[in-house]
Symmetry: C2
């Protein structure tokens, strides 16, 4: 993509109302535009990151045997009357009436709706276990939306729901999602710490939050250092993970903690996922029953599994930025490479940069090419701000010797090499 | 995907409230589930088709130089006050208040919001033309939602908005979208007829509807037969298209029609797209001005371009079905191939069918493998119902001679050949 054509409205000034780095950087880098309090329009750069995150989640959910569905954003209030949550959910639920005076709501979560869908179609143990998931917009009318997309009102969430014949099956589904979550966050370049949690508005009796480490996190955690060096290719990794200690501040008691202090670390964390086992909490009031092999009708055993997809964009930035801007981990970067032509008035440099762009495109590398007339300093600052993993700088050496300068955004290291070597390096 | 694992809740009975074929077939084939009046949950088979349609639209919009954004579903009513549409839009707009008593609405279309986004960032002729688009859910509170996803209340729409410095530029943007629309529908295996239209609630003075031919269409059209044999690879195709005659029933006057009757055809049509040029209708009240090269501030010239994405799923079925079920055009089919093992009790046939499935997967062919214990007749009926373009039948000849039977769903033709030849045929 040529920058002269790309819709990338970066901002020079630091937005005054943005309190945390990710919010500031997302506005400055032209990733989002705030349309109302806690409600954002995603601009092309931000949308590309959102889609990358969605893709990783889709791939890992599918690999775990889950099936993707898509529920509507608007639900009938009736179902929530049956589950008893219509009133108990509180003011975060946006309720309204349609032209026929029927009560509707904008789904803040979907346990009721998916339980109904499931129970309409699945009646027998033969058709389960099933795990149905979606990536869909939710609305929670936060009293004080803040921190940009980290605590917005309209937000994108991956929500999955497991259905099993009994507690043993439900537990298996729960731990499969637990493992899948660790893989998902790992693939995004994040260290996620699963912490035992209260189950809150969803209810139930087994629950973990997934916290990623970032200085601006709202939670304070204690966790065993071994979390940071887990080998996810080891088939026994799960046996190790579940033995490891992690707790949020208010539940951590140094006196009774089973782990010696030198094996503990403290950090701020941002919650990016939450999983729940809640048995028949929804299947019972909504009548979702399945036939067992012995012909008995039982309430289906359920769990639900959320990931804050739009929130992750902010959280990843909180874990990956410096004074100059964002440092995207490769798997979620909006483009892999940014080309800066530092000599826009030299026709040879322009031709060289054009050729680099074409060759990277041919090699299938997602590239943003700054072909504008801005001065080099502004171009470099802009590339650092938007945080693409690799910068290719076309300067005097390119024209003379065919050598480009490569800057790795994450650590600032530079190397000089020819384009073919760089492309091979990217593919390796 | 193995059918034993896939969530495909097909229905034996014909749903009584479904008046048209696509609605009936989508429910019977387990593509959607109605959650409320005019509000649907998309089940895995339906969602796969929806995503195929989205992908084609994304590719063609990107190829036309448009940029993808994503606006929120919930908008502030304030903007609509400025444009004057808050009251004039009528009861189809779903309005409500948040916990702070601020007026919000669920976007039925997005001219106001995109104009605001644009005007916040773009101030100069240097940064236009631009065409920003999204694929996002909309809500229109239809008084009597019907025909399944064809006239639902919550529906998925592709909406694009063009921004130009003057009328000449806006016209160019308009005709580029006109051409892009023809390509998009063509790629979905549809014949789309562009018909001059009134611009209705969007306003403006140039507008075309795109109608696809289907017996259950709500509109009645007259069009020149030449539309059916256009060659879209011909660079001059647009010159020809715009000369061709097409009109809806109420605007067609046989007396004054410039085309002789033998070159005319009559058909029912389903509207699947609508494009508008409306100049400064929104940019003026919302203050979206840009600087011309001579330093003058002018209202930006706009157009908007919609495609009913979820409606298309129904419309494509209306144009492609028979008494047995759906006949998906290849480019939008949920899977390309369905494998039926007609001899599930023969271990050799099972092994053979398993191997066919694995080889098709390896070759990158999207395949649904009916590995269930249903009797062959029910399996064949099910495959015809869900309408995958190719059926691979593993029977006695497979076990004996390694020969599979291939059925082409669109015309029922059958052939016998070995798997490698079939895979080569698919790739050709």
């Amino acid at each position: 993509m040529r920058l002269s054509h790309f819709y990338l409205p970066t901002q020079k000034e630091t937005p005054s109302d943005a309190q945390i780095a990710s919010h500031r950087l997302m506005l400055k880098a032209g990733m989002v535009y705030q349309s109302s309090a806690g409600i954002y329009t995603w601009l092309p750069l931000g949308l590309r990151v959102l889609r990358k995150i969605e893709n990783i989640i889709n791939e890992e959910m599918d690999a775990a045997g889950c099936q993707e569905v898509l529920m509507p954003t608007i639900q009938s209030a009736e179902l929530w009357q049956k589950s008893g949550r219509l009133d108990s959910y509180g003011k975060e639920m946006l309720k309204f009436k349609d032209r026929h005076d029927r009560e509707l709501l904008y789904g803040p979560t979907n346990e009721e709706l998916i339980t109904e869908v499931f129970s309409q179609h699945i009646k027998s143990y033969r058709d389960i276990p099933k795990n149905l998931y979606q990536i869909q917009w939710k609305f929670r009318d936060e009293i004080r939306p803040r921190f940009g997309v980290m605590r917005g009102r309209e937000f994108l969430m991956k929500d999955a729901y497991s259905f099993d014949i009994d507690y043993e099956g439900a537990k298996k589904s729960y731990w499969r999602m637990y493992q899948t979550y660790l893989k998902i966050f790992k693939r995004m370049g994040l260290t996620a710490i699963p912490v035992r949690a209260d189950s809150g508005a969803i209810g139930g009796d087994m629950s973990h939050e997934f916290q990623i480490l970032a200085p601006a996190g709202e939670s304070s955690l204690y966790y065993e250092v071994a979390f940071e060096s887990l080998d996810f290719d080891d088939p026994n990794v799960m046996d190790e993970v579940v033995r490891l200690y992690a707790a949020v501040d208010e539940k951590h008691d140094p006196q009774s903690c089973p782990v010696p202090p030198h094996q503990l670390k403290q950090s701020k964390g941002i919650e990016v996922g939450h999983i729940f086992y809640f048995g028949s909490k929804y299947s019972e009031p909504l009548g979702a029953k399945v036939m067992t092999p012995s012909g008995q009708l039982v309430n289906v055993e359920m769990g639900s599994y959320g990931i804050g997809v739009s929130r992750l964009v902010g959280a990843i930035i909180e874990a990956n930025f410096d004074g100059e801007g964002i440092k995207w981990p490769d798997p979620v970067a909006p483009f892999q490479v940014g080309i800066v032509n530092a000599k826009t008035h030299d026709p040879k440099a322009v031709a060289f940069a054009d050729a680099v762009y074409e060759k990277l495109k041919e090699a299938g590398v997602e590239t943003l090419y700054d072909d504008t007339d801005e001065r080099p300093g502004a171009k470099f600052a802009n590339m650092d701000l938007i945080g693409l993993p690799w910068q290719v700088i076309v300067g005097a050496k390119a024209v003379e010797k065919g050598i480009i300068e490569i800057k790795r955004r994450s650590d600032g290291t530079r190397q000089e090499l020819d384009l073919t070597s760089f492309i091979n390096q990217l593919a390796a």
